[in-house]
Amino acid sequence: MHELDDLEFAVNTEPRCPCLLVLDTSSSMNGDPIRELNAGLAAFQDDINQDELARKRAEIALVTFGGTVEVAQDFVTVEGFQAPTLVANGNTPMGEAVHRGLDLLRARKDEYKANRINYYRPWMFLITDGVPTDEWKQAAADAAHAEANRELILYAIGVRSADFRVLAEFSPEREPLQLKGLSFREFFQWLSQSQKRVSSSNPGDEVQLPAPTGWGTAPTST
């Protein structure tokens, strides 16, 4: 299989717009939150595939943290993305998940380079409703350092009672946003629109993402 996987860059030479979602699937996400998250992912799959260019250029990967850290989806162009049904379980190893995410991004960039594929600056979304249960400070420092080095753009999003002081340490350059209620669908619709916009941009077009109207607000808790 590995040899055939390598052919994806020969078949599709379009520049890639990688997006990594690091998702909290700990037990506190059980019930409505995980259901809405899964529905949002499925809607994202449908919506972004409507756009011919984004289908070939936007890539998505999912890292989940709930009890253990799993790569629920390694990087794939969205035309090949099948939204999984995530299950909520266990504690919140956020630090390990962010480290895994950074490794995944770097490995993907290496693949682009080896295959001479152009790429946009990757996005990482860290989404959680809780507090990390592992050693997270080093991961936060590493993520902040990676962003300062222009390796990626990190958006931290808190759901319900998330600890926004913790999230702010992962993205010191950008204030974390609070998801309005459980509006995961609105978030994923925004993500789809944003990826369409970026993936149709040309060199020199620094893209302004749409405002997070409909799903995000400044955090109300501290």
Partner: protein
């Protein structure tokens, strides 16, 4: 040709064209690339600027950059003669770059009443963001100064094409450096070489690289450039007609299928040495 392309003097042996990309046409944006060429006293000067899609007044920035670069060249070379060595060449090219940058700073210093948006000077400068490519050719040497993406290509004496200056890409596909950047002098790359019987030179914006450049090898696509230069040399067609046909080619479906970005070209055909001796012309262009 329209806008700055028409306002820049075009010599008999130079050919410029620019066309808006389909993505810009769809959103009602004008072409943000600007082109110009000047032949004066046996020297040829080429300029091309690609306004940033994200900047509100990018087409103003690119047009100003091209016009002021050619204006500076028109003054600097006759006043000081051809640069004597590499260090003089560098200083001369930096002089052109600074003139282009100054024209943007001067424009940014004036509030623009038509804009309706009151920006700070620094922001107004950012709204003029453009790349910058300028090449000068005298009887002996070719020098190019380049900020951002786009390509400079030269036709060698044997008819093959090589890169004079390659794009300065950041790691990421849609990010580059601009003439409006704080570090524009550090970002500027200078290429100098002997003419060595070169037959012509071409500047092109990144919008055409999917058509003209073998991106895997980062080399000019030989048949494409051979065709372009043969077209530019064709003595049976007038420069005006050639410019029209070149614009039509840039608008054509086969080009638009490969790129939705603005695209522009400045082509200069140098007279071959044996021809130059027999064909010394008055500089009436």
């Amino acid at each position: 040709m329209a806008g700055s392309a028409a306002s820049a003097p075009i010599a008999r042996r130079c050919l410029c064209a620019r066309e808006a990309g389909t993505s810009h046409l769809e959103t009602g944006l004008e072409c943000q690339d600007a082109v110009g060429a000047l032949e004066a006293q046996g020297r040829v000067f080429l300029a091309l600027a690609d306004g940033a899609g994200s900047a509100r007044r990018a087409s103003v920035g690119s047009s100003l950059a091209v016009a002021s670069a050619l204006e500076a060249a028109r003054e600097l070379w006759p006043t000081h003669g051809d640069p004597a060595d590499d260090s003089a060449w560098r200083e001369r090219l930096l002089g052109v770059l600074r003139a282009a940058r100054s024209s943007l700073e001067e424009r940014a210093a004036e509030p623009d009443p038509s804009d309706g948006i009151e920006d700070e000077v620094a922001d107004r400068l950012r709204q003029l963001a453009t790349t910058f490519l300028f090449a000068a050719v005298d009887g002996q040497r070719v020098g190019m100064i380049h900020v951002g993406d786009g390509w400079g290509v030269i036709e060698e004496a044997d008819g093959r094409f090589s890169v004079l200056s390659a794009p300065d890409r950041s790691e990421y596909f849609n990010e580059t450096v601009f003439l409006t950047g704080e570090r524009y002098e550090e970002d500027a790359r200078i290429s100098l070489r002997d003419l060595d019987g070169a037959g012509g030179a071409v500047l092109t914006s990144d919008g055409l690289e999917m058509v003209l450049i073998d991106l895997a090898r980062a080399e000019p696509h030989q048949p494409a450039f051979t065709g372009l230069l043969a077209f530019a040399r064709d003595a049976a067609t007038s420069v005006e007609d050639k410019a029209k046909r070149l614009s039509a080619f840039l608008r054509s479906e086969r080009v638009c299928k490969k790129t939705d970005d603005d695209k522009s070209l400045v082509i200069a055909v140098f007279e071959r040495p044996e021809k130059q001796a027999a064909d010394v012309e008055p500089e009436s262009a």
